[in-house]
Symmetry: C2
Subunit: 417 residues, 2 copies
């Protein structure tokens, strides 16, 4: 993985990210209820760039990647510009064989015909049940209303249309100045289990009017994803459909960002990261059955890979997650999870904190009669920060997760049966 | 990992393993209530070999290995013979620093003094809460009654004394003929979460009166562990204390098994594997909150590592486990978990079965209107077999796991708070 440089990561923390309704000049969005699977709810979202945009994407690493993921990869490789993204909720179009790919291409063609452009300028995404084929006819019938409903402030409907087990829509936007011009980065996401092939998936669509060279956009999208969507976990599962798509139209008419290491590039990277991170955090907050938001900061690591490996092992441990749910300051479970992450850490150098309460230092529990009470106090909070310092180097990495509650079991055990 | 050869694995299936009370000629066991942490319950187990035994062990790979694990490794390296194993339940003696190691050595010394032998001939094991130190005084005071209670049929008490969140004691034994002599392999285990630093850990102690060369014993213990205790998972966590200790005394006076590839060696290996596997299965059956026992057979794999990696990824997926709890024939979750195991599998070659019901073949769901009903029927069983054929080679590996229920969350969220 290639993380965002520390200085860009730091300045991204100062970017003001808004979760209110937003517009990105030069983009429009709309939603419709196609009836493909659900009755009487929005299930199709269309995002259109008024002027063609360059695009970058990050996709699931699952070997069973869904048909729309395959189509997006092909279109991003073959096409120099992207005009629109079509998303459907209800069926994931995953594990659907060649027929599934043909239908994903058909869905893109329907939009291409309506916009009078080439099919390879359309990206598609799906979320929902694995296995069944999507139907093209409901999409065709919804196209006229989608086109007539396209509006600059249509993002709220689009954010709702892509929801499945999500309990709230997830928008985020930020504004920065580049070369004297205001540039907007705004997007929406969905997801609540990292995967739930029936009903969930992680999807995010971010648009910006920034003028930015394709290589610079790709650079920041990949690094930003590694420090946001690739740093969160609800249950450790990876969907067949996970997709982050970022479009940049240049509509803001700022001097094009071409120098990767320049000030404008770093500023753009920081703002993009801030928006991606905010969307990612909203997904954790809406984690299936989640009652708590947990930030796991690994410091003193020799490499970012080792820090991430330990962070994710802790974040995915069912014993750690149930202890958080129970409000139990069970540091032994965190230490034990860290110890099995495959990193040659040294117990005698490790130090563990809940917020600012140090509970474990250099291989042994901190001897202080008040520790248990102070740690338990932290565990009662809705947002908890865990810091494990490895004492082995100067690298750090933050992972975000939620607790594991009865409702997680309920949502995932009861859904189909 | 080094699995048991296929032919030995096959013949191990024909070994009759008994879960009734057993004796292993030449070994005695006893239990006592020391009061170290629990009131009025057995919490100390002592196993003594009447004639010194050779020994082999397999231990946790957790970097935070507990003090008794460190002591066992040292004694197994330095000592040519082992006379006894002392086990305490209540405190894990893990994350206890140098003081913890000194106390584990003291515990061994107490037994050594009582038996008038060297400390390095004693092995020790602990299970319970991480962090607190064990107390030596309660052990000292319990020694006289432990010694006077030592009996060939004392295993049931020992199996109960090492329990923590376990709901039943776990014995297993088998008998085979080697060189015209009857050889017994018998042992006990405990464990119900793979780890729960408060209350659980995987411990197994197996004794045999077989005469077997140390290298041959070590060979079969390591391979046997890889196909039994290292092939099960309740929650994917690895304890700081996990230990399998196997003693072989030669009391049966069979011609010593020295030829690793010989018939007797293979017979012994098969019987040992059968006992280890049975103990491992009992741990899964007693998995925290478990309501179902699931066997995951990966076939057609290119290597045993890839088969095991896919099997464990499926077995540890919270989404797969909650679907089993809900009785949901949710094959999409299994396929999606397999797809993120890091193995370059080919969707078009994969075939998935629930028992003998094929639900997914060559990248797409099986088209049959009865499939859902037939698969759901299988999912209502208490024991379920899942087979995923990768179509990529001739290797197979079996993993065992249980479902993830409300009670798992309850047990692990509510324990300390």
């Amino acid at each position: 993985m290639t993380p965002v440089p520390a200085e860009v990561e730091k300045s991204s923390r100062n970017v003001v990210v808004n979760r209110e309704p937003f517009i990105v000049p030069g983009f429009k969005a709309a939603a419709a209820a196609s009836g493909m699977r659900y009755q009487n709810r929005l299930d199709l979202a269309l995002i259109v760039a008024e002027t063609p945009a360059i695009a970058a994407g990050v996709f699931t690493t699952n070997r069973f990647s869904a048909a729309p993921v395959q189509v997006c990869k092909e279109h991003l490789r073959d096409s120099r510009q992207i005009n629109a993204i079509l998303v459907n909720a209800g069926y994931a179009n995953a594990c659907t064989g060649e027929e599934g790919v043909l239908r994903a291409l058909d869905a893109a063609q329907v939009v291409a015909d309506a916009l009078h452009i080439g099919r390879e300028s359309i990206l598609v995404a799906s979320t929902g049940v694995i296995g069944p084929q999507i139907s093209i006819e409901p999409i065709k019938q919804a196209i006229p209303s989608l086109l007539s409903d396209l509006r600059p402030d249509g993002w709220d409907g689009a954010a709702r249309a892509i929801m499945t087990t999500d309990t709230f829509p997830k928008p985020a936007s930020a504004r920065i100045e580049i070369g004297g011009r205001t540039v907007t980065i705004g997007g929406i996401a969905k997801g609540s289990g990292m995967i739930a092939p029936d009903m969930a998936t992680l999807l995010a669509f971010v648009c910006t009017d920034a003028a930015v060279e394709p290589a610079v956009l790709k650079h920041w999208v990949q690094r930003g994803a590694d420090c946001s969507f690739n740093a969160i976990t609800v249950d450790g599962d990876t969907s067949t459909n996970d997709s982050l798509l970022v479009l940049a139209s240049g509509y803001a008419k700022n001097p094009p960002i071409a120098d990767m290491g320049g000030v404008d590039s770093q500023k753009f990277g920081a703002a993009l990261l801030a928006v991606l991170k905010d969307l990612a955090k909203q997904i954790v907050l809406d984690g299936e059955g989640a009652t708590k938001f947990i930030e796991i900061l690994i410091t003193g690591a020799p490499t970012v890979e080792s820090a991430k490996s330990i962070g994710l092992t802790i974040a995915n441990s069912p014993l750690v997650k149930t202890a958080f749910f129970g409000g139990d300051a069970n540091w032994g479970r965190i230490v034990a999870a860290a110890g099995r992450a495959g990193v040659p850490l040294v117990p005698e150098r490790s130090v563990l904190y809940f917020d600012d309460v140090c509970v474990f230092r250099h291989g042994a529990p901190v001897r202080d009669p008040d520790i248990e009470a102070r740690a338990s106090q932290v565990l009662r909070q809705k947002e908890i920060k865990v810091q494990l310092d490895l004492g082995m180097g100067g690298v750090q990495f933050t992972t975000y997760t939620c607790d594991l509650s009865y409702d997680y079991v309920k949502i995932n055990a009861d859904y189909r049966s």
